[in-house]
Amino acid sequence: MSDSTSVAAGTASLVAAGSAGRRNRALLRNFFGREIHTRYLGSITGLAWALLHPLALLAVYHFVFTTIFRAGGFQGHSFLLFVAVALWPWLAAQEALQRATVSLAGYAGLIRKVAFPHELVVYASVAATLALQFAGYLAVLLVLALVGEPVRFEGLILAIPLWLVMALAVLGLSLGLAALQVFIRDVEQVLMPTLMILMYLTPILYPLALVPEYLRPWVAANPFGWLVGRLRDCLLDGRLGLEWGDAVALAGALALFFGGRWVFRRLSPQFEDFL
C-alpha cells in the first residue's frame, strides 16, 4: 500500500495529499456558488439590493454634503465621483468582514459532521462578497462615466491589484474574527460599531486635506485611508506609478493574512465543540 495517511494527533485530513487539493477546490467552488446563490439570487431583489444599497448611500451622502453642508475641495472632482471611488471598497470590506465573521455558524452542521478545511467557508464568504461588490464598483464607474464624470478607466490596471491587496487583508482579518466569534460571541457585536466609527475616521467622505494639520498623520496612518488615496490617484487622476507605500501595504496585507490564518488554524480544531 503506497499511499497511506496517518492521522496522529496533530494532522487532520484523511484524504491523501494529492486528491486533497482537488477536493478542496471542488468544495470551495461549491461553497462559493452556494454563497452567491443564497445571498443574491435566492430572492428576486437580492442582486438589485446589492447595488441599490451603496447607490442609496451615495445619494444620501451627496445630498448631505453638497446640498446641506455645501462642502467643497474634493481635489478638483465632483463629490459623487470622489466618494464613489472610495465608498464602494469600504462597503465591500465592511460587508465581507461582517458576513465572514458569522459565516462558520451557517456551516455548523457540516463542521460537526464532516472533515474538511474550515478555512474554505471563510474564503468562500469573503470571495462572494468582494466579487459581487467589485462588479457593483465597475457598474457604478460605468454609470458615472456615462453621465459625463471623467473616470480614468486606464486606472483599473492599478485599481484591480489594489482591490486584491485589500482582499488579502480582509481575508486575514476575517479568518481571525470568524475563529474568535466561535468562542466569543461578542466579536460580532463589537465589530459593527467599530466599523462604523472607522468609516468616519477614514478619508472616504472627505479629502485628507480637510483634516486639521495636527491630526493628519493619524488619519493618514489608517491603512484604508492609504487604499482610498491610491484608488483616487489612479481612477480620478490617472496616476499609475507605483510607490514605496504600495510595497509596505502589500507586506502588511500578507502579514494580516498569514496572521489571521495562524489564529484560525490554532482555533479551528475546537470549532466542532463550540459551534
Binding site: 500500500m1 484523511l14 459532521k113 464532516v114 475546537q270 465543540d273
Partner: protein, 389 residues
C-alpha cells in the same frame, strides 16, 4: 492484507468551559499552543481495526463516547492521544446524510456531497441521475432538505453513499429513523452495500441491528472499551449489563427517604419458591409497603417479559383487597399466581405502590425470575386449549 482502518490508543479530551471568561481563557491557551486547562475525557485508549468489507458496530450508553469515536474516525476532530491509520486507496469516509445542508435542495446537496468526496463537476454530472433514480423521492429532489421527512433524508443519504461509494460508510443511529417498513428497507440497503464489499461502521442502540449487520462490535463505557469482539457476545454482555443495572436501580427505597418524601414505598419484595420456578407451579409474591399517612396503600403487580412486553397486571383495588397493617405504618401484601401459565424464559415482576384511592403511582420495585421447563410451545403464556371437539 493490513487493515483498512486501524485505530490505536485513541483518546479525546474536550475543553471544559462554563463561563464567558473561561472561553476567553481557552482561546488564549489555544493560541499559545497549550492544552485547555480543564478537560473532560470523552474517550480514552480505544483500539480497533477494520478490514475492507468488514463491519463494526459501536454500542454504548448515551455519552459513552460513540459519536466522538465516529468523529475521530471520520477525521472531523483530531484525537488528543493515539492514532488513526487509513490504509489502501484512501478515499473519503462519509457519515450517512451528514454532509447535507438543510437549506439546500436535494440536488444541491448531491453536489455538496460529491464535492465533499472530492469529485470534480464533470464526474458529478454522470452520477447525479443515478443518485436521483436511486433515492426515488420524485419532485422532492428540488425542495430544500428541511422540508423532507426524516425517512426521505436517509433515503437520499443511502443513494449518495451507494452511488459515490465512500471507502467506509459511517452511520450514526440512522436506523432509529422512520417506521418499521422503512427500517427494513434500510437494512436491506446496508446488507447489499456490505455484499458489494463496502465497509461499515455502525452506531446503534439496537442490539438486533448490531447483531444482524455487524460481525464485530465495540462496547464503549465512559469513553473506554468495555468489550470488543464478536458482535453476538458483545451485544449479549451489553444487554446483561443493562438488566443488572436496571435491577439494581429498582431496589427498595430506604424507609427514611420514603418518609421524608412522603411517598407510598415498597419496602420488600420476596418471590416464593424463588427466582427460578418451574412452569405450572404456584408463584407467590409478597412484601411490605410503607404508608406515610397510615392509610392502607394499594398495590399493583405487573408481569413482563425480559424485553419489556407486558404479560399481565392486577391491582389490589380491582379485586377489592385491602392490605393488612403490620407494624408502624407498614402494610403486607401477598399475591399468589396459581399454576403459572408463563412459558419458559426470563420475566420481570414489577410491584408498584399506589395511594389508597389507587389513582396515583408512587414507588416501584422490580425482580426478575426465570420460568423453567421443557416445552416446544411458542409465545408468552400457555393458553388452556383442546384439540378436536
Amino acid at each position: 492484507m493490513s487493515a483498512l482502518l486501524a485505530v490505536a490508543g485513541v483518546g479525546k479530551d474536550y475543553a471544559k468551559v462554563e463561563t464567558r471568561r473561561g472561553r476567553v481563557r481557552l482561546v488564549w491557551d489555544l493560541l499559545r499552543g497549550r492544552a485547555a486547562a480543564q478537560v473532560f475525557r470523552a474517550l480514552d485508549g480505544v483500539d480497533f481495526e477494520l478490514q475492507r468489507g468488514a463491519s463494526l458496530g459501536v454500542i454504548g450508553e448515551n455519552g459513552a463516547g460513540k459519536s466522538t469515536l465516529l468523529k475521530i474516525v471520520a477525521g472531523v476532530i483530531e484525537p488528543t492521544r493515539g492514532s488513526v491509520r487509513v490504509n489502501g486507496r484512501v478515499g473519503a469516509l462519509l457519515e450517512l446524510g451528514s454532509g447535507f445542508h438543510p437549506e439546500y435542495t436535494g440536488l444541491a446537496n448531491i453536489e455538496l456531497a460529491a464535492a465533499l468526496l472530492g469529485l470534480p463537476p464533470h464526474e458529478i454530472e454522470g452520477k447525479r441521475d443515478e443518485i436521483i433514480a436511486f433515492a426515488d423521492i420524485g419532485e422532492h429532489i428540488r425542495q430544500p432538505i428541511k422540508h423532507y421527512s426524516s425517512g426521505m433524508v436517509v433515503r437520499l443519504g443511502f443513494a449518495v453513499a451507494t452511488v459515490l461509494k465512500p471507502d467506509v460508510l459511517i452511520t450514526d443511529e440512522v436506523l432509529a429513523v422512520g417506521d418499521e417498513s422503512f427500517q427494513k428497507k434500510c437494512i436491506a440497503w446496508i446488507e447489499r452495500y456490505l455484499e458489494d464489499g463496502g465497509t461499515l461502521l455502525l452506531c446503534s442502540h439496537s442490539m438486533y441491528h448490531i447483531q444482524k449487520l455487524c460481525r464485530v462490535a465495540l462496547w464503549l463505557r465512559d469513553g473506554r472499551t468495555e468489550r470488543y469482539g464478536p458482535s453476538t457476545d458483545v451485544a449479549q454482555a451489553y444487554l446483561a449489563f443493562h438488566e443488572e443495572k436496571d435491577a439494581s436501580a429498582r431496589q427498595p427505597l430506604a424507609e427514611a427517604q420514603a418518609r421524608a418524601a412522603g411517598v407510598y414505598a415498597i419496602q420488600s419484595l420476596e418471590l416464593a419458591p424463588g427466582d427460578r420456578i418451574a412452569q405450572g407451579a404456584d408463584l407467590t409474591l409478597s412484601g411490605e409497603v410503607l404508608s406515610p399517612d397510615g392509610r392502607p396503600p394499594a398495590v399493583l403487580v405487573g408481569i413482563a417479559r425480559a424485553d419489556g412486553t407486558s404479560v399481565y397486571g392486577v391491582a389490589t383495588d380491582m379485586d377489592r383487597v385491602v392490605l393488612d397493617e403490620m407494624r408502624g405504618d407498614r402494610y403486607a401484601f401477598s399475591l399468589t399466581l396459581l399454576r403459572l401459565a408463563l412459558l419458559p424464559g426470563k420475566y420481570i415482576v414489577r410491584v408498584h405502590a399506589l395511594d389508597p384511592e389507587a389513582v396515583r403511582l408512587f414507588d416501584h420495585v422490580e425482580r426478575s425470575f426465570v420460568v423453567t421447563g421443557e416445552t416446544r410451545e411458542f409465545g408468552l403464556v400457555q393458553l388452556p386449549h383442546r384439540w378436536g371437539r
